[in-house]
Each structure stands twice: as C-alpha cells, then as structure tokens.
Assembly symmetry: C2
Homo-oligomer: 237 residues x 2
C-alpha cells in the first residue's frame, strides 16, 4: 500500500510529530511505502491565488475553481501544487496528521486542501461523494486536541466531534470520493502525563495495525439524488 | 457602531468584493464607522508559528495556545496580530466576508482566526460560549458559494448549511463569545446572471438595514454545565 502522510504541526518535538513518526515507522515495518509532506518543514504556501496558474482561461478575472479545472486539463497548475497532486494520486491511503485549531485544520493544512484538491480531478460535474475523483482511496484523520472526551457527544458542551469536523470529513474528504476511516483522536494532549501519552501511542500503533478491519463512515450516495441533486423520493423515507 | 469587516477574496472584481463594498457603503451611510481588513491586499500571513511571539515562556518547546496566553499577558505577540486584535476589540460588529472553500473559510481567513483569536483574550479558563472574551459583540458571516439552495437542508445532499459551518459558527465565533447573527448566503454565484446578482445585492442591502432586528443563533450556555463542563442534569432533559 502507498501511504501519503500530510503533517501540519509547527513544533518538531510535539506529541503530534510523535504520532506522525509512529505512523511512518509502523506502516513502513508492515511493508507499506510511506511518503510524508511535512507542511511546516516544506514552508507550504497555503494561500490560493491567481499565481497558482500559468496561462489562465480568463486572464482578467479569476474564478479559482474554474481556473483549477482549466489548469488540470492543460497542465498549467503551479509546480508545488502539481507535486502534491501527484503524491495523492500515487497513494492508496492518505493520512492527515494535525492539531485541531478552532475545531478544524490549521490554516497551513486548510490551504493544502484549498490548492491541491483541484476541481476537475478531485471532483467536478456529478463526480462527488461516492462518485468523487478519489474513489477507491482511503483517508485517515489523526488529530490532537486540547479538549477532553467528555466535552464531545450528543449532550456534551461541544456536541459530537464528527459534527464539528463535518466540513472536513464529509464536505471535503467524502465529497472528493475518499473512504473516510473513523478518525483517531488524541485528547487533552497539552495537559496529560508522559504515561498517558505513551498509552495513546500504544493505542495508535494498534489502530494502524487494524486499518483493514475498520468500517468507513457513512455519507450520501449519488444514487439517492436526481440529476439536479434533489433527493429521490425513496431516500427521504 | 464600530464595524470591522474582514474580507478574504483573491479577485478584486469579484461579486464577493461587491458584497464587501456594499456593506462598507451601506453601514457608513447609516452612520457607522467601518474598518476593512482586506487579507489578500494586506498579504496576510495565515501560518501560526513560533515566530508569532517575541520572548516565549518556553523558548525550546512551543505550545501555540500557551504562548498566546503568555504573549497576551506580556505584550509579546507579533505586531501584525496585535494590530488585528486591536481592531476586533474596537469593533461592536465583526463581518467575515469570504467565498466558501471546502465548506469553510479560505486558508488566509482560517489563519487570521488561528493567529488573532488568542487564548487569554478571546477565550480561556471557563470563558467561552456565553462567557467568551468577545461577549457583547456581534458577528455576521457573509459568504458566496457555488452550490444551490436546494443542495442544503435536512434531506439535501450536503445536509444543513449551519451544520457544515458548525466549526466556524459554533466552534469559533460562538465559542469566543460573539452573538452570531444568521449568516447571509449568496448561492451559485459563479453561474448566475447579472440580474440575479443584482437581486442578491438588493437583499443584502436590506439585510444590513435589519441587523438590529435579527435574533442571534442559539448555542450552549455555560450555566448548563458543571465546573468540569459535564452537562448538568436539567440541561439533558
């Protein structure tokens, strides 16, 4: 299996980086090939802009998604983006490894998605959700978070973590066609003991060994909607 | 009323920029004072990192939120961030004006939040949701999106737009104490006629004139949770 791990933490000594290193070691030892995009180390530019394209379809007025589509067809997307697209296309499993910032990805990772998940390749026309461009690939979201488990759940103060992560899990990854594995969460990380951190690493090693047994999360299926994406009668029941 | 409008679109001729200009004009003519942070024009750096702090509490190991807290107490936060914090503190109403990228903010705006909403000022300890640091201020999220209204709703393909925007509306803005006004959405923007765009501008002008009549969205209240943020029995009923 080819694995692309995208890592987005500013502190090389962080527990988040330890999770990254553990995944690389565990998956490599299991015989998989792992590439890492360490966004801070790469000084990744997260800002989507006109300069992401060479010859544009409309030089005087930029609609980013339309230029992505044009650029993907004509090979005129900036080389830093092309390089990341090639890694995703090569991979069977994508791992996003990051600390939660405001219940979502740090900006440097959000900008990796904004620039790399280009229209025309990752989605477009009627190709999204189970028909998305990345169908057949799996994705695992691994995150550290300051909060504690009891702060998440139907009655908890922040509600369900899957709802807080909905734009990422559903609106981005499932939308692009990935099978989204249940996320691996490391809670309360800045405030816990060395022993508690070691226990999380043990859990993660075990989790990585069981990836093939994990049932992906459930998301909309295009066959439940008509041509204009209105829900079909049976799907509303 | 003092208004801070944070604008995050790469194309100065965009419809999104027209919404920004309309808000500046309408609110100024109504007697309010408006400041604009145009993040692309400012070349805002969205990447949270060690360089955001002068003298750090732990020079050898960075936990971003803890350094934010230290920096807010000691005045050692980078000047580009300090300047934006001062604008937010000055404002009575914050407007976030942006195109939806992957059902959330473009990275440049995510990084404005990551770097500006510092621990110790915007939240911290038990100060969040209705006790958050920004209580007493209002926020309006104004966005353009490629999708159409029928794609959002309980049975629709992308579910409810408020759930897709949950980490922003609830996990960020309500969490920091803002009263969150119902968002203003401009749907299907890249694909609609000039007349349809003019109709949206008319709607937005009307909306901006009715801000004082709008009921903020509902979010958790700290009084429904105990000291350790477990839900109190009555709040579960």
């Amino acid at each position: 299996m080819n694995v692309l791990l995208v890592h987005a933490h500013y502190e090389p000594q962080s527990f988040n980086a330890a999770l990254k290193d553990l995944a690389v070691k565990t998956l490599s030892e299991a015989g998989h090939t792992v590439q890492v995009s360490d966004l801070y180390a790469m000084q990744w530019n997260p800002v989507a802009s006109q300069t992401d394209f060479g010859a544009r379809s409309k030089p005087d007025y930029c609609v980013y998604a339309l230029e992505q589509r044009h650029g993907a067809q004509n090979g005129t997307i900036a080389s830093d983006i092309q390089s990341e697209i090639a890694k995703v296309e090569w991979s069977d499993l994508l791992i996003l490894n990051f600390p939660i910032f405001w219940f979502s990805t740090p900006a440097i990772l959000k900008g990796w998605i904004d620039r790399v998940f280009v229209s025309g390749l990752f989605y477009g026309g009627k190709r999204f959700y189970d028909q998305g461009g990345m169908r057949g690939k799996r994705v695992l979201v691994t995150f550290t978070i300051g909060g504690q488990p009891h702060m998440f759940g139907p009655e908890a103060i922040h509600g369900e973590i899957e709802l807080m992560l909905r734009p990422l899990l559903r609106g981005t990854l499932a939308y692009a066609g990935f099978d989204v594995l249940p996320p691996f969460a490391a809670y309360h990380v800045p405030y816990i003991s060395h022993e508690a951190r070691c226990a999380i690493l043990d859990d993660y090693r075990d989790y990585l060994g069981r990836l093939d047994t994990l049932e992906p999360l459930s998301f909309p299926r295009m066959s439940d909607f008509d041509e204009r994406l209105h829900p079909l009668p049976c799907s509303v029941l």
